[in-house]
Amino acid sequence: MRSVEAGSLALAPAPARAPRLPGGRGLIGLVLPLALALAWEAAVRAGLAQGRLVPPPSRVLATLWGLSASGELWTHVLASLSRVAAGFGFGAVAGIAVGALTGTLPLARRLVDPSLQALRAIPSIAWVPLFILWFGIFEASKITLIAVGVFFPVYLGVAGAIAGVDRKLVEVGRVFRLSRLALARRILLPAVLPATLVALRTGLGLGFMFVAAAELLGASEGLGYLLLDGQQLGKPDQIVAAILAFAILGKLCDAVLVGLSSPLARWQDTARDTL
């Protein structure tokens, strides 16, 4: 009894190590940006620098606060966020569907994959003129651009994950006479889940990249519009505020995706490192 207890105690620290706590070690990463920000603030206050083109943190935060208080910021955040959500949704669903198809059916892979690889070589921004001609200058062309950007990493990740499923585990399913459906549900799906989640995260990151691009190219609202507006009116503090908002929004969305998905992949030996 005693030894069993000792054994389980000895094993206990392993799971405790697993979750990465944002505090502690994460805080050290804040030292450098905070120090730089404080130094710049001090330099501007002391009159050593003008801070007109590179606004000090206090002015950026004041601008951010002002935009937030007037409700303007939330309009732009909501606009950008809904574009990313729609584009990410379409792109991710299409990427998973096509990836699953080419991953499981060799014929589909030979038929479709070369074309997709060729399309992938095109920088997504190059589509913009065509999308504007096809879908107009409003939401549809922006969402399409984002969806295209999200599609490729998700497609590649899913197709690669399915192709890489261990044949030996599939054989375990065959020995127990699983139907095709049961095999997909009980072995293929869990096996490809971790790689799919990583692909989705990459896709989400690209979604934010393309929403900024789309909004810079012409929009009446959105964080990208805020950037452009700041440039045209010569308000660097507004540009930096919009950049900050993008960073926070992107990080939050990524954290939500990880939070939703990490319980599904906690069995993974390497999950704590990749997710």
Binding site: V4, S8, L11, A14, K168, L169, E171, V172, R174, V175, F176, R177, A182, R186, I187, P190, A191, L193, W267, Q268, D269
Partner: protein, 260 residues
């Protein structure tokens, strides 16, 4: 009764893995298939498990032909092949998905108790040692209550002490339902410790060279005179099987190294 009738397997690249292999195994018998590398041991098990098709010949279990995975046949592979996203208990009960939950749980708990893993039921496979993982794999095969259990060198990656422990766990499970066991091994001591009969295979193409009955009582002591004599007989037969046909006395320098 498991009957292998003139089984042959030729792979697409022309390799002849098995040629005209016939064997009858009584219900409840433990047979060790022993031989050097390349004598088609794993191929043979894959055919019986229904994972590959024979090029010629027939496999039947109690009169029923086998050409695809059969509910009466279970297999333990060389590696544990546990599903990393399932707990130990769920892995062990993987083949019981059709049973009601309560019965599945009871069967799994009982079998895990038998192999000494009851307290690990809720853990992930990644937290177990290699020997423990292989015990879960053996449990997974046993709880499905197969009539024939195929073991493909399941202990070959483990150290001698762990292996002896696993032999005990295997026999403990076998005692309960007494399935027919076909054990592929390259370890003479393992054959002597477990089997009722050792079948020595000859390579290229694989076929039966010799059959050695092992009428020793259980539990067996590896150091007992009976065990040692049996091991010597198998070794001599194995040595003979590795010599090319027609060659009588000329010693081949690498022959003795081949069966390790």
């Amino acid at each position: 009764m498991l009957i292998l009738d003139r089984l042959s397997k030729t792979y697409a690249d022309g390799t002849r893995a098995l040629a005209d292999l016939s064997l009858e195994v009584r219900a409840g018998e433990i047979v060790a298939l022993i031989g050097g590398s390349g004598c088609g041991k794993t191929t043979l098990l894959r055919l019986i498990a229904g994972l590959d098709r024979a090029s010629a010949g027939r496999i039947s279990l109690d009169g029923e032909g086998i050409a695809a995975p059969h509910p009466g046949v279970g297999i333990v592979f060389q590696e544990p092949r546990l599903l990393p996203w399932l707990s130990v208990a769920d892995n062990a009960g993987f083949g019981l998905a059709d049973l009601p939950k309560a019965e599945r749980r009871a069967r799994v708990a009982h079998a895990l108790e038998r192999v000494g893993l009851a307290e690990h039921a809720g853990r992930w496979p990644r937290d177990l040692s290699g020997g423990q993982q292989q015990r879960v794999a053996i449990t997974r095969a046993f709880v499905a209550a197969p009539k024939v259990l195929l073991l493909d060198e399941p202990f070959s990656a483990l150290d001698a002490l762990t292996r002896a422990g696993l032999h005990r766990h295997l026999l403990a499970l076998w005692e309960e339902s007494r399935p027919t066991v076909l054990l592929v091994t390259h370890d003479v001591a393992e054959a002597v410790a477990l089997a009722d009969r050792a079948v020595v295979l000859r390579p290229k193409p694989g076929r039966i060279d010799d059959t050695i009955p092992l009428p020793l009582s259980r539990p067996r002591q590896p150091s007992s005179p009976g065990s040692e004599a049996a091991a010597r007989t198998i070794l001599a037969s194995l040595d003979r099987s590795l010599r090319p046909e027609g060659e009588t006395d000329r010693t081949r320098p690498d022959a003795s190294a081949m069966w390790w």
